[in-house]
Each structure stands twice: as structure tokens, then as C-alpha cells.
């Protein structure tokens, strides 16, 4: 949806007045007009859209925008070829780390069900609206958490608990596109 195109804006304006626009289209219109000077014939409409604009408390796009703003370096779920390459490298590193840790630290405290539950809870909070289920496989002092997303994709994480501090960490090892 290219709102720089006046024809698209005009078409959306008509849909807006007929209450046929989606919430996200209305949000996009309000953001556009708050950032751009409207043309003469659009002034009244732009004024109404920006004045009436709320906070779209239930907007999915807004929640996704939060994730982009809050974690600009986070790996997005929709990956491109470069991120795939990075993902494969991370998987390789994680597998290597797994074997190294397994060989050097033979007696580790096994991860507890309570800790796993905490990990699942934290993972749920990363994408509360996108995740439909999470499976956990305990492996010694770690657990592999696999989140199934609404669109059918799966994301896997290695969950570890830092000894001493008890801090929980989740490392993404596979983000399926």
C-alpha cells in the first residue's frame, strides 16, 4: 500500500468514509497524514483522520512495530537468505557448544520442571499473539523449547539456567521461514 500515490489515498479515503477500511489501513492513513503535509483538497479529510486518530490499542501492526522499535537488532521471524545463513551458523555453533559442554561438564544439575515452565512463560511473552503451542525437551542442564506459530512455522530455542545467578537465557537456534 503506497500512500505516496494520491490515487491510492483517494480510494482509501472513500473506503474510510464508508467504514470499509481495515483498522491497519486507518492506522496507516493517520500515520501518513501526521507525517506529510496534505494537498489542498485532502486537508479536511487529513485533519479528521489525524484528529480522530487514537492509539489503536488492539492493533497487531502496532504490536509488531513495537518489536521492531524495541529490538532493532532482533532476528525477525520472516527471514531472508542472509538471515538463513546466519541461522545455520548459529545452529552449527549451538550444536558444537552442546557437544563441548557435554564433554567438559559431565555432571550438571538437570533442569527442573519449574525452570522449564519459567522458560515457556518467557518464550510466550516474546510473541504472545503468534504462538499456539510450545514443546519442551529437557536435555541435562538445558532444554530445547520449540514454539509453534499460528502460521505453521516453528522456532526452536536452547534454554539454559546460569549457575549461581539462576538467570534464564533463550538462544534461538532455528527460525523456520
Amino acid at each position: 500500500m503506497n500512500l505516496e500515490d494520491k490515487n491510492i489515498r483517494k480510494a482509501l479515503a472513500e473506503k474510510y468514509l464508508s467504514a470499509e477500511t481495515s483498522v491497519e489501513e486507518e492506522r496507516a492513513l493517520a500515520i501518513y497524514y501526521s507525517d506529510h503535509q496534505p494537498e489542498e483538497d485532502e486537508k479536511a479529510f487529513a485533519a479528521m483522520v489525524t484528529a480522530a486518530a487514537g492509539e489503536w490499542l488492539l492493533s497487531d501492526e502496532g504490536a509488531k512495530e513495537f518489536d521492531r522499535i524495541a529490538s532493532p537488532n532482533a532476528i525477525p521471524l520472516k527471514t531472508n537468505i542472509f538471515l538463513w545463513a546466519a541461522g545455520i551458523a548459529v545452529v552449527a555453533a549451538a550444536v558444537a557448544l552442546f557437544f563441548i559442554l557435554n564433554s567438559r561438564i559431565p555432571q550438571e544439575k538437570p533442569i527442573s520442571p519449574v525452570e522449564i515452565a519459567e522458560g515457556i512463560d518467557q518464550l510466550m511473552n516474546l510473541k504472545p499473539d503468534d504462538i499456539t503451542s510450545i514443546t519442551a525437551i529437557p536435555q541435562g542442564s538445558r532444554a530445547i523449547l520449540t514454539a509453534k506459530l499460528k502460521d505453521g512455522r516453528e522456532c526452536s530455542y536452547i534454554m539454559t539456567i546460569e549457575e549461581g545467578t539462576g538467570n534464564l537465557s533463550l538462544v534461538a537456534v532455528n527460525i523456520e521461514d
Binding site: 470499509e20 483498522v23 479528521m48 522499535i69
Partner: protein, 166 residues
Amino acid sequence: MTREEFDIFSGKVRGELISVAGRINLGDGQPVEAEDIVQDALVRLWELSERGYPVNNPKALAIKITKNLCVSRYRKSQKDAIRLETADKPGGETAADFVEAAENQRIKSSLYNRLTPARQECIILRNDFGMSLDEIAETTGRPKESVKVLISTARKQMLEQIKEFL
């Protein structure tokens, strides 16, 4: 959800919501006022519940509202920063722009106040909460087609009023 259940729920999730809100900063290194945003988010969640919105997963909904409030606050801070940067520059925005921003809320109230209660209710649920037509229909108990007509009529009425202002 009863008020008591809501209070217990709020106590449980407040810390987590503050942690979510604390993840964003306003561009100048200032974190958003996380506690204020969370308080606002919880109030809005209660309002939704009170209005009859189906709150199936209150925690997920509270997180979503918190995120949207953060984004709204972030966008506002970005715009304010641009205003400050350009205020004294030739061609930049003038004091009138500041007044205009402050006036938006007053204009909005003025426009809303002239609507019939039914139109006003639908417009608030749509614009402020971002509900879909189906959700508004479910929340208000009106048929979806009636909701659509109420919103459309309200918008056309507001547009005519704005044209009188300009």
C-alpha cells in the same frame, strides 16, 4: 472478569508489563515512563472488559495494549523532536504547529460530542481501541451492518464539521 479478579490479575502482571514497556526508549535515550504506560494499559484493559469486549487471554491483551501505547508514545516523541529541531528554521514548523498538536484533542472531543451516543460509542471503539467491525458488533450487541452504518455516518458528519472549521 470481576473487579476483584482484575485487581489480582493486575498485581500479577504489572511487573512483567513494566519490563515490556521498559524495552523502548524515546530516541533521546530516555526510557518511556513505563509505570505510567502500564497503569494506562491496565485502565484501558478494564475499560474494554467493562464494555463487554471478550477478554479471553487478559495477559496477552495487556501486553498488546502496553506495546501499542508505547508505540503511540514513541511516535509522539519522534514528532515532538522533529518539531523542536525545525521550530526556528526557515520553512520549519511554527508555534502554530505546536498549538495545532495541542488542539487535536480538543477538536476530537468537540467532534465526538456532536455525535449521537450510538455513533460516538462505535467511533470510540474503532478509533481509540482499534476494534474491528466484528468486535464492535460483539461488544455493543449491534449487528455488524448497523455498526458499519453508524461509523460511516459519524465519519461523514465529522468531515462536514471539519470543513466548516477550515
